[in-house]
Subunit: 326 residues, 3 copies
Amino acid sequence: MSAVRVDDIVALVGGRYQGPRERLIRGVATLRDASEEEISFLGNPIYAPQLRTTRAGALLVPNDVEGDDPRYIRVAKPHFALAQVVSRWFAAQPKLAGVSKLASISPKATLGSNVAVGPFATIGDGAIIGDNVTIYQNVSIEAGVTIGEGSILYPLVSIYHGCKIGSRCILHSGVVIGSDGFGFATEGGRHHKIPQIGTVRVEDDVEIGANSTVDRAALGETVIGEGTKIDNLVQIGHNVCIGKHCLLVSQVGIAGSTEFGDYVVAAGQAGVSGHLKIGKGAQIGGASAVFHDVPDGAKVVGNPAVPFREYARRDMMLKRLLARKK
Amino acid sequence: MSAVRVDDIVALVGGRYQGPRERLIRGVATLRDASEEEISFLGNPIYAPQLRTTRAGALLVPNDVEGDDPRYIRVAKPHFALAQVVSRWFAAQPKLAGVSKLASISPKATLGSNVAVGPFATIGDGAIIGDNVTIYQNVSIEAGVTIGEGSILYPLVSIYHGCKIGSRCILHSGVVIGSDGFGFATEGGRHHKIPQIGTVRVEDDVEIGANSTVDRAALGETVIGEGTKIDNLVQIGHNVCIGKHCLLVSQVGIAGSTEFGDYVVAAGQAGVSGHLKIGKGAQIGGASAVFHDVPDGAKVVGNPAVPFREYARRDMMLKRLLARKK
Amino acid sequence: MSAVRVDDIVALVGGRYQGPRERLIRGVATLRDASEEEISFLGNPIYAPQLRTTRAGALLVPNDVEGDDPRYIRVAKPHFALAQVVSRWFAAQPKLAGVSKLASISPKATLGSNVAVGPFATIGDGAIIGDNVTIYQNVSIEAGVTIGEGSILYPLVSIYHGCKIGSRCILHSGVVIGSDGFGFATEGGRHHKIPQIGTVRVEDDVEIGANSTVDRAALGETVIGEGTKIDNLVQIGHNVCIGKHCLLVSQVGIAGSTEFGDYVVAAGQAGVSGHLKIGKGAQIGGASAVFHDVPDGAKVVGNPAVPFREYARRDMMLKRLLARKK
């Protein structure tokens, strides 16, 4: 771990700070666990009481926090400041380097410069791997896949043939991109497979969490827009189009052909039916089940999902009725 | 891609068509994206307005669609016709061939003719692999597994020891078959494992989506009936028995020992408790939570799930009460 | 399979038994399937009618079961007795032995005695693998991981760098431990990654089901307490702390920084928001969505989750209103 002067931290995050400037910081920790050589942060007001008891040597806090603790570094967004500090000095992790002799790489694949490939990974015919891509052990990259520069594929990722992954993407272990969409035509008492001949396009700067799945399109493309971040165990159906800079929290499921505008947030376990339009900047509550279109900027919640105001009024009404019947 | 005469397409699907018969079709696309050399289809009435604007060279439409566009090929079931056309001419995908020298195959395993095995796959003692089976890279097949002819196991599938997979099955990346069921006996403050000594039997023509899991039985068998199609991230508990030709959409969960009749449909994120009986042809709504048996042919919905009619009446009543209280 | 005298079974489980003592038992089966050479059990009263028709040669039943069938072995907890009997005599399964030459093991890793490693597994620099650990094919163990003695990692498990797995743990296929938590700071219209520099600690005697995911902490540790059992497709967010001897059924999701006391039970598909405290011994119903703290020993259910009593009263009130409006 590095030793960093508080001075340098304050300069990086552009914060207001009145304390001792030469103090050395050697790590980052939670308010509860931090030692005097570590910096901590207040990211959620429910932890504010811990500001008084923490032993941290410096504290990233919101501009408007009360008190005058000399350790306070006041910033507009402590989470963003934390991201800057950790990325700059404290995010070292073991790096894969070189191309393992135990990988199976098609002679018809194209690898950019400085590509790392772990053992037991496979790269198929015609795949194009950009510069500085890291492909960990046991990753499967089928024929015709393209991966943009700087992307990281953690162990045991599977990319089906012909899918496109953008630059600086991060795909965590167990992610599956391009498996067949769930498309069948029922005839004569049997479900006949509709071959899924489309593909998947994951744009730049997308992160996808462990064991999430993105199905290839029946026809055309399933799209994950630039800068969108997807958590673990999320399901994206065939021909879904997710806008840019969306956040999909774990176990969310989006059924086929649904379109999300940019900056949509879907909280954990939310589900969205197929063939819907979810407007730009819409917010979907945790464990909500969305069966209808959602307008731009709307907030919906509940199973079935309704506008947040209606949800709150329903809840209040039920409570009142219940109180009366006692 | 092939070039196919519209004539031949009409003959294959048995459709009614009045347009130019020599036109060549070179691919399949959505109404929005199709060019004049591509065929498209109307699978969902919400896309009917696009019939007027699509540039597609031919159109698979339902028998009763209005208008007299010369491109219309009228059929009873456009989805089924699409499946036929794509399967016949447009579903080419890269095929694995041969047995990789980088696979680890027990000398005590038996491989049929024309089996393909990718690198870093393992096949255990006593496994029996049928003719024309495709086993992609990094698939794990443990001892005593049997796989019927023509089945496809995509990369990173795991089949635990002794499980049986039928013929013409498709298992997508990350599928796990035969992991231990969740069985514990609590005694003295600790949960003691009940060894799961049963197995899993997946019958013929089953497809299972990416990262879905099917647990082995505690005793006896967990069964997935013939022709059943399972989407991604679905959980099938130990000793569950799923009937034939069911459809389980993504993120569905079925708890232990529950039995499904044939032709049950469970929409996305539905959950079903253990030890229940879901009748033949029953339909379970999306995000529904089923805590009781469901009779043959019934449709249930909601959390907790109730018959569809009761659900609709509850919803209407709440809306009325809400309007009154405003 | 062994042949075991009923006598020996009665002695092991400490049961009351009046039947013939020399009978030989060669296996274990359900009431419906058992033959005269097999033992069965009554674990759930709904199957009691099958006691009359079963052909089983011996029956583990609760102390208070009616009747005087000479095959009855009366015990306090038939499930626990079953676990004992199966573990002692009938749980044989193929075992991996030795270290495969097809694995990739860092010379800087430390392996205890009697470790088994399958083909195409990787073990990174500085990893420490305890005695009698079994690592199946295609498992990925990154640098600095420690695994306690006797643990079993089934095929295709992924453990990210620096995570700690206790002794006698069982991790099923597709489990991912230590993937990045879902942490981003939004600034200038983009989501900036907060590097997740914490780790995961899985304590002793934990079992984790297929394709479940446990994210590493942003800072500090994500913890799974001793003896806790987790089913398939469960999501554990960053900095979550799960107490000892909890049971998390399949498809449960726990959002970041939430703390569970000991002996919490969360039924299938339940979701719990972030930064909550779930008290010791609390029970969360299936498909419930928990948005608030839960006190010790409380039982909550529903979406949104409320105390069980309130849930039951809401339900009854709705039914009454509905009856009146008909």
